[in-house]
Structure formats: C-alpha cells, structure tokens
C-alpha cells in the first residue's frame, strides 16, 4: 500500500517537474536560484581526465582575464580568435589562442608566452598592439603566466587565421608600437601577487582599467586617473572608485561582489559591454576574489572634483517630471526607488549622476538589456524611447533624474542627445507592429 502511494507521488512529482521544466519557470528560478549550485554560463565540457592543479589554475586565470571576451568570435571555436575590436585607431582582430602550429599558439614556448604577456612582444619578435592589454598583464607573475600557458596547451588545435587588421599608415607598422610603449608602457620588473589580492586582479589580469580608466589621445591610460571612468564605443565605463555619487563609494563590498557574480544588485543592473565581462568572466570567478575586487575598488581614491553648483531650468525639470511620471515611473516608480534587484533605483545611482551623461541618454534613446547569469537567468530589459521622445524631451527627463531625489549632476542639453542619437542610429520598428 505504502509503496503504491509512493509510486503515485513519484509520478505526480515527475509530472510537476516536467511541467515546471517545460515552462522554464523563470520567475521562480529568479527567486530561489542563488541557493542552487552555479554552473559556468559558458560551461565547457569538463575534461575526462582530471587536470593538473597548474592547468586548473590556468583555466581559472583565463576566466579572470576574460580571455574569451575578445578571443571568441560569434560562431567560432572557443579561443580561436577573429573577433573584430573597433579601436579609435582602426580595427584589430583577436588572434587564435588554440594549439594549431600554423595559426595558433602551437609553436609557442612558455617563454614566448611570458614575453607576450609581460612585454607585449610576439614570438617572432614583432610588437603586439596594445589592444591586447599587456600594459595590465605585465603585472601577473611568471607562475600565473605559466599556468595560463599550461591551460592553453590543452586547447584543441583549430586552424583559423583571423582577417588582417585594418589600421591606417603608419599605425599598420608594428615598430610604431615601440614609440607608443615608450610613452605608455612600463613592464613590471618584479610582478608579485602582493598583499592585496583585489588590486592584483584589478590592475593585472582583470584589466579593468582598459575600459574604466580615461585615455590620452594616444589611447594610453591617463596618468594618475586610474579607474576614474572611460569612454568606449559610445558608452561610459563608469568610475570604479570611492566617489560617493559617480563611483562605488556608496556600495558595500558585498554589493560589488553580487553585481559581478549575478549581473545585478539592489543598486544597479549590468548591461552593454559589461554584460560580456560578467558572462564570460566575473560570474564564474570565486566569491573570495570578487569580494577582494570589491574591497579594492570601493576604497580606490578619486581625484575628480566634487560636483559644483548645478543650475537647472525649472521649466526643464517640469517637462522632465511630466515625462518621468508618464513613462519611467512604470518601472522606476514615482519616487525613483524602483524595484531593487529587478529595476534599478535611480536615487544615488552612479549611472544617473556621472558627469558625462552618455549612459543615461543612451538608455533612454536605445533601451538596454541586463545580462543573464545563472544566478539571475531572466534578462530584464528597458524599452527604447528614441522613437517617441525628441531631443529636448530626452534631455529634460535625463536632467530630471540627474537632479531629483537628492541626485546632483550637470543638466543634459538637447544637443548632447542629438549627437548621441546620430551615433546610436534611428529607431527600428518591429515588423509585427506594422499594420
């Protein structure tokens, strides 16, 4: 009797399980997923033979370095390269890191690899373009380089030669990089993991500054302005420092770690370029390392001038408020507090108060989508408003959110919006909407 009851219950359970699996129950998973074991979002087949500790370390370091962020191209084999990187100076294609002798790293020795990581020099002696972030990787230790090398040795050979770089004369001459290096690059003579693991990750393999540090006209890091926020691809990579309004000063270490692990926290949602960084790299990093990164970043000093007196035309604020109440309050709520963890709150947010208003304008014009991670698998999106709001209206509502609920930031002008609108393109009507 009892047995049959159990069998019936098992059938019931299987049925419910199938039902849930079929519906994929994203909202449910949303709520309880953190308790589940987290598998890497880009899970590679686990090797059949247990790998050596050195290879395992290298595999993890490749995640920390977000190597796949650049060395995977859509549809290509992992690490086979070929992703076009649009730099301000021209297009550079990432190289093949697999073990193919002709087109990949198959012929490289551990010394060759170290020379590339540490000095930015290729096996044939030619200089690598700094699109490969050797100015950061120079801070990793020889042991870390060797571990990465050992891991890359395990990658199956894929014969693939990326397209030739598209660089104008004289940048197409690799020896020119020597001049660039003289001005912008200093090999780290005694790399060490140091007493601060967060700093070692941020300044080394993590190469956070590649996007988050402002650049000189040569594309090198601006001296003394590390992590104060950089421009990239018509986005602003926000400041990662102790700035209360524009940086991470108001965040806790746990906030930073949660953001990097799951793509969201109660203060912000990750999207745009940061989505790939989280997907390929930080969501798969160890919690302790993420906490170390958080510790380091939120204590990183800022040199940015405090926000001065901001004067905003009350008529602009009135128009901005009208638009906000009608359109934005749906998700972000009339008081801006939104639904923390789902829709990001606007009061106190760095993205709303950054001196450079690019991101807030772009979110309004084009919309955005949060990254999907194993912990937060449902990517929330913000719709685009570029089709219904004109430049003055986008400027008004952006100015309103930048100067309400305690926020203070310079107003946005309609010409700021017009400039960005030309770069991000025109509204696209979904075919289903055409009647």
């Amino acid at each position: 009797m009892r047995l049959r009851a159990r069998a019936a219950a098992a059938v019931l359970a299987a049925g419910v399980a199938l039902l849930l699996a079929a519906r994929q129950a994203p909202v449910f998973a949303e709520v309880v997923a953190p308790a589940a074991p987290v598998a890497p979002a880009t899970a590679k087949a686990t090797p059949a033979v247990p790998e050596s500790p050195q290879v395992a370390q290298g595999r993890y370091l490749a995640v920390v370095g977000d190597c796949e962020g650049c060395h995977d191209r859509p549809g290509g084999a992992p690490y086979a390269g070929g992703l076009p990187l649009a730099t301000p100076f021209g297009t550079i294609y990432s190289v093949n890191l697999t073990q193919d002798r002709e087109t990949g790293l198959g012929a490289w020795s551990a010394d060759d690899f170290w020379n590339a990581m540490h000095n930015g020099v290729r096996r044939d002696g030619a200089k690598l373009y700094p699109a490969f972030p050797y100015p950061y990787f120079t801070h990793i230790t020889r042991a870390e380089s060797d571990a990465l090398y050992a891991y890359f040795r395990t990658l199956p050979a894929v014969s693939y030669r990326p397209p030739a770089n598209k660089l104008p004369f004289p940048l197409n001459l690799r020896f020119m990089v020597g001049f660039w290096n003289a001005l912008n690059f200093k090999p780290d003579n005694a790399p060490t993991t140091g007493p601060n693991p967060g700093q070692h990750i941020v300044e080394g393999l993590g190469h956070c500054g590649a996007c988050h540090t402002p650049k000189t006209f040569l594309g090198g890091d601006k001296n003394g302005h590390a992590l104060e926020g950089g421009k990239l691809d018509n986005w602003l990579a926000p400041a990662l420092n102790s700035d209360q309004r524009r940086g991470l000063g108001a965040w806790s270490t746990a906030d930073v770690a949660e953001y990097l692990k799951t793509g969201r926290n109660a203060r912000a949602n990750a999207s745009a370029s940061m989505a790939d960084v989280i997907r390929y790299s930080t969501s798969q990093m160890a919690d302790a390392d993420l906490a170390a990164v958080g510790d380091y970043l939120r204590g990183h000093p800022t040199h940015a001038a405090a926000v001065g007196d901001v004067r905003v035309d009350p008529k602009v604020m009135q128009a901005g408020q009208a638009i906000y109440v009608d359109e934005c309050a749906t998700c972000h709520a009339a008081d801006g507090k939104a639904q923390p963890g789902y829709f990001p709150p606007l009061p106190g947010a760095a993205v709303t108060q950054s001196t450079n208003p690019t991101n807030v304008i772009r979110f309004i014009l084009s919309g955005t989508q949060t990254v999907a991670t194993d912990a937060k698998p449902t990517p929330l999106s913000m719709p685009s408003f570029g089709w219904k709001l004109d430049d003055a209206q986008v400027a008004a509502v952006a100015t309103y959110v930048r100067n309400s609920w305690g926020n203070v930031a310079p107003p946005v002008s309609p010409s700021d919006v017009a400039k960005l609108r030309r770069k991000v393109g025109k509204p696209i009507q979904k075919p289903s909407a055409k009647v």
Binding site: R6, V16, A17, A21, Q369, P427
Partner: protein, 247 residues
C-alpha cells in the same frame, strides 16, 4: 482504498523534487543566454502625418463623412464634436491603411446580406465599401430631390441617417445600407476615442471628457485613493503638452 492516499511527507518530498528541476538549469538552458531584444527596436505605432488633408477620400466623400460624423457626435457642453476631434481624418487614414484594404481579412466570395451574426459580409474591403456606399447614397438622394447629404438641414440629415440605420434606404443589391451605417458609426467612435497619434481624439479631448488617463501605466499611487479625483491629465502615446517646455 488506501492505495491512493499520499502522506504529507511524500507529498512534500515530491514537491521538493519538482522544484529542484528548474534550479539545476543554467541561464543558458533557461533563457538561451538572453531573450530576444535589440537596441532602438520596439513595436511602436506609425503616427499619422496630419500635414496632408485627405489621402483616400475624394471631395464628395469627405463632405459626406464630415457631415455624417458631425450628426453622430455634435459639439455640446460635455465635449467637442467629431469634426473638432479630427474623426474624418482618422477614418481617412483607416481607409488608406491595411484596415481599409481588409489586408488581414478573408475577402473571397460568396458575398451576401449578413444574417447579423456573420460579421462583415460586403464584397469590398472597408475602403471600397465606403466608396460604393457614399456613391449609392449620392445617387439615391439625387434621384429624389437633388440635394446632396452635406447640404441638407440637420433635421433632414438626422432623418436620413435614422432611415439608413433602420434598413429603410434601398441602395441596390450590392450595398447593404444598414451594414454600412453600422460600420461608419463604429469607425466614428474609434476615431473619437482612439489615441491622438492616429489622427482623431485631437488634443486628447475625448479622454479629458470621460476622465480616461490614457497611455500611462503606473497607477499604483492612485488605485487605493477611493473617492478622490484622479490628479493627472490624460497622456497619449505621443505624450501630452506638459512634455514640452513651450507649454
């Protein structure tokens, strides 16, 4: 009898098992590393270009529609007339678009008089039906005393529309006058109350009249404020005057 009894512990266990399945999935399995989304892209409506006047109706048709719509919704102290609200222009754009062409309708024969429960039975899509019906009405009125509809006195217009709606006007074998009146009345109401982006409900006037808030999604602050007037003016898909600094 007892074999179908499931004790509490087993049921809870079954529930736990069921809940465990989606948990074991990764983001990739759940959402394929993303749901469909693209920047700058949305299902926005095409706004009517109000700079052009009529694009489908000819002068006679426009004169008839304007006069008939004005009798269906005349101006009064509660709100604007159909003409002031831009209804004829709305219907003109309806007829010029896919609705007028019956683009999504089955439009093959047989055609005949609708039994009333069959829905649209005319042999033309709405645009053609309007053209044929207004022509037939013109011919019908011309036979009797020559005055076109829009030149007649209001009482006369009302009497004719009443006859038309009652099926008392014979417009020939092809044109079901009562069916067309029903279509016209429907379209006039649509134009009067639809979003201004489509050409009617000019200045949100119909929504102001009935106190409809319009295309505003978040009503949480007001939904429990029983007995208090709703504080915000209506908003259309294209906004409201307060969105611009000129206002």
């Amino acid at each position: 009898m007892r074999q179908f009894q499931v004790d509490r512990r087993t049921l809870l266990g079954a529930g736990a098992l069921a809940f465990a399945v989606p948990l074991a999935s990764s983001a990739e399995q759940l959402t394929g590393l993303g749901l469909p989304w693209a920047p700058n892209t949305s299902s926005f409506p095409t706004a009517v270009d109000l700079r052009a006047r009529y694009v489908y109706f000819n002068a006679d048709e426009a004169a008839f529609i304007e006069a008939a719509a004005l009798r269906m919704i005349p101006a009064d102290p509660t709100g604007p007339s159909a003409l002031e609200a831009g209804v004829p222009l709305f219907i003109d754009r309806q007829m010029a678009g896919d609705y007028g062409k019956g683009a999504r309708w089955y439009m093959q024969g047989p055609f005949g008089k609708s039994t009333g429960t069959q829905g649209y039975q005319a042999k033309w899509p709405p645009a053609g039906f309007y053209r044929a019906a207004i022509k037939a009405i013109g011919d019908h009125l011309g036979q009797n005393n020559g005055q076109p509809f829009h030149k007649r006195a209001e009482a006369d217009q009302d009497a004719f529309l009443k006859d038309l709606s009652g099926g008392k006007v014979d417009l020939g074998a092809d044109v079901d006058g009562k069916a067309w009146f029903t279509l016209l009345l429907q379209n006039v109401m649509e134009g009067y109350f639809s979003d201004p982006i489509y050409g009617g409900n000019r200045n949100l006037s119909a929504w102001k009249m009935i106190g409809f808030s319009g295309a505003r999604y978040d009503q949480r602050a007001y939904v429990l404020a029983y007995g208090k007037p709703y504080p915000l003016p209506p908003v259309g898909i294209g906004g409201r005057p307060a969105w611009s600094m000129k206002g």
